[in-house]
């Protein structure tokens, strides 16, 4: 199988969709020919498709998203890049009040096929304004879809689905994943939203993990296997829609649930997943649900501080052992 990085897989999805459909265009800060995106995802695309379709914008997050909304409701399929996930705060009205509600408020007259790509996640020592994981904010906004790919394969397939869809999508990427390699087939494919994937089969404990935490959960599962514990790792791949059935089915099988997510614990991704299981499978649980999450703090700068607030393999292993 062909290997490529998460970054290359995203770029290939953009390239393919721009090739198929002239209504697809990209806009964002420094995504064009002179820089290729802060994380180089769009590198080379302006050279191939021109500056009109790969547009460098002013530093105006609200107008970037709003322009995307206006273009999306008039027949285009914009893909906006917000350079860092934290900066979605600057565009929050356009995301949460406009993009998400425009179809509903107008009684279904409009569709808003806008994709907003943005990187979340800590781990590269760039402190509080460039490191947070805010996926849960967007789960709380009806009308938005939220994708959280963890592998190059998922990144490509989900991004293509997002671009082809008819709804606004918050497409969450993770900075530490950009250089991560994985298998990506030569042939084109898409991945439907709302379908989780079992990233590792197991029978003793269910671990639901997202984004970069999927990799840490797999590492932890491999270590635990040596100790005789069989861990099933489930990656929801999209948070909205959420594949509740896959999670609940796994919990019914194992009777134990650990949720691993980098975002804050309070009101976070893990809170929603716990609630789903509490509502739909509590009778199957043989132990309390455990959550391994980011601390309820902003992300600090200094490496030892930063590492302290992000979940690691050790914390996952500890949590798994506590529920068995």
């Amino acid at each position: 199988m062909r290997r490529m990085t998460y970054r290359e897989a995203l770029r290939e999805a953009l390239r393919e969709e721009m090739g198929h459909d002239s209504s697809v265009f990209l806009l964002g800060e420094d995504i064009g020919r002179h820089w290729g995106g802060a994380f180089k995802v769009t590198d080379g695309l302006a050279q191939q498709f021109g500056d009109e379709r790969v547009r460098d914008t002013p530093i105006s997050e609200s107008a970037i998203v709003g322009t995307g909304v206006g273009a999306a409701i008039t027949g285009m399929r914009p893909v906006a890049e917000i350079m860092f996930g934290d900066l979605t705060a600057l565009a929050m009205d356009q995301i949460a009040n406009q993009a998400a509600k425009i179809r509903y408020m107008f009684g279904g007259q409009a569709s808003c096929p806008l994709v907003i790509r943005t990187p979340f996640g800590a781990g590269v020592n760039i402190a509080s304004h460039h490191s947070q994981s805010l996926e849960a904010w967007f789960m709380h906004v009806p009308g938005l879809q939220v994708a959280v790919p963890s592998t190059p394969y998922d990144a490509k397939g989900l991004l293509k689905t997002a671009i082809r869809g008819s709804n606004p999508v918050l497409f969450c990427e993770h900075k530490l994943l950009y250089p991560v390699e994985g298998d990506v087939p030569e042939d084109e494919y898409t991945i439907p939203f709302g379908v989780a994937e079992v990233k590792r089969k197991g029978s003793d404990v269910t671990v639901v993990a997202t984004m970069y935490m999927v990799h840490k959960a797999r590492n932890a599962a491999a270590e635990l296997e040596e100790e005789g514990l069989s861990v099933e790792v489930i990656d929801p791949r999209t948070l909205t829609p959420l594949d509740k059935k896959a999670i609940v089915d796994s919990v019914k099988k194992t009777g134990r649930l650990v949720i691993v997510s980098e975002d804050c614990k309070t009101g976070g991704v893990s809170a929603e997943i716990s609630s789903v299981v509490a509502e739909e499978a509590i009778d199957y649980l043989d132990a309390p649900i455990k959550r391994v999450t980011g601390a309820d703090t902003p992300i600090p700068f200094s490496p030892p501080l930063e590492q302290y607030v992000i979940p690691d393999e050790k914390a996952i292993i500890k949590a798994v052992k506590e529920v068995v």
Partner: protein, 321 residues
């Protein structure tokens, strides 16, 4: 004098202005009868702006609108019946009762909807303009907003972007002097919003927003420029709302003399005088228009009142496509 315009065009402009006025008066009346849920922001007094601008647009051109949007809808060609039904929360309304007074849209006539977040329509208008440019149509976008919105960050971001990309957008500032109850002079050190155009390297013009022909002329010039690839224009229309900000507001913060002064410059009254004095409109022709509109409004009310409410569970529809 622009009465060089064809008679039918002038009649249509008068008809639209009067439709808006009568419509708003009727909405006010229905509100008093508890038939309108929520609140209302009436456009009465500002008709010359919406009609002057929309008269310079084609059907396939776009507009974006605000919480004070009934006039924009009607001026762009939305039906009175479905507009009224939406305001009453009925299933037959443009948005099936999900939007209401502050969120009416009619995509079939290029009315891309009213947003009730002040200033939020500007970036969306820029996007529609970019879309027209990328699709290589020659459509233009008129973006309505108030002088209050010109203090939002989106004003700066949007006009800068539209200018940098030479997009076909006409930014129409309806300066009615008050952002809710806050007089412009208390919160801004510029008298003319149009002066801000300098900051973006685009033309900025201030016009008498109670003179529909003046608005039309300025708008037509901006539309021609935009359609020809010349980029955006900022038009400031000085106008005045006849009522308060919303239904509950008696507008006591406005000096009595000021209100009287502006009421004396009522755009509808002025246009009617111009029509009767400077064109070959007869009193009876004007009267004919007026009677037809009175009947149309009654039909719209009847339609809206008799229409059913949506079924409660329809609240769960249209969240996702």
């Amino acid at each position: 004098m622009t009465l060089a315009l064809p008679k039918e065009k002038l009649a249509e402009m008068y008809r639209k202005m009067l439709e808006i006025r009568c419509f708003e008066e009727k909405v006010f009346e229905l509100y008093g009868q508890n038939l309108v849920p929520g609140t209302i922001h009436l456009y009465a007094g500002e008709e010359a702006v919406a009609v002057g601008v929309c008269s310079s647009l084609r059907k396939d051109d776009y507009i974006t609108s605000t919480h004070r949007g009934h006039g924009h809808c009607i001026a762009k060609g939305a039906e009175l019946k479905r507009t009224m039904a939406e305001i009453l929360g009925k299933k037959t309304g443009y948005c099936k009762g999900k939007g209401g007074s502050m969120h009416i849209a009619d995509f079939n006539v290029g009315m891309l909807g009213a947003t009730a977040v002040v200033g939020a329509g500007l970036p969306i208008a820029v996007g529609a303009g970019l879309s027209a440019k990328l699709r290589k149509t020659d459509q233009v976008v008129a973006c309505f907003f108030g002088e209050g919105a010109s203090n939002q960050g989106t004003f700066h971001e949007s006009i800068n972007m539209a200018s940098a990309w030479s997009l076909p957008v006409i930014f129409v500032c309806e300066n009615n002097l008050y952002a809710m109850g806050t007089r412009q002079s208390r919160i801004m050190n510029v008298e003319n919003i149009a002066d801000r155009a300098v900051a973006y390297g685009i033309p900025g013009v201030t016009v008498d927003g109670n003179d529909v022909l003046a608005v039309f002329e300025a708008s037509q010039k901006a539309v021609d420029r935009a359609r020809g690839g010349g980029g955006p224009t900022l038009i400031e229309c000085k106008t005045y709302r006849h009522k308060g900000h919303s239904r509950v507001d008696p507008a006591k913060y406005r000096p009595k003399e000021e209100v009287e002064q502006w009421l004396a410059r009522d755009p509808l009254k002025r246009f009617k005088e111009v029509l009767l004095q400077n064109s070959d409109f007869s009193q009876s022709e004007v009267q004919e228009i007026e009677e037809k509109i009175a009947a149309d409004i009654e039909d719209a009310v009847k339609f809206a009142v008799q229409s059913p409410y949506p079924a409660p569970e329809e609240a769960l529809e249209d969240v996702y496509a």
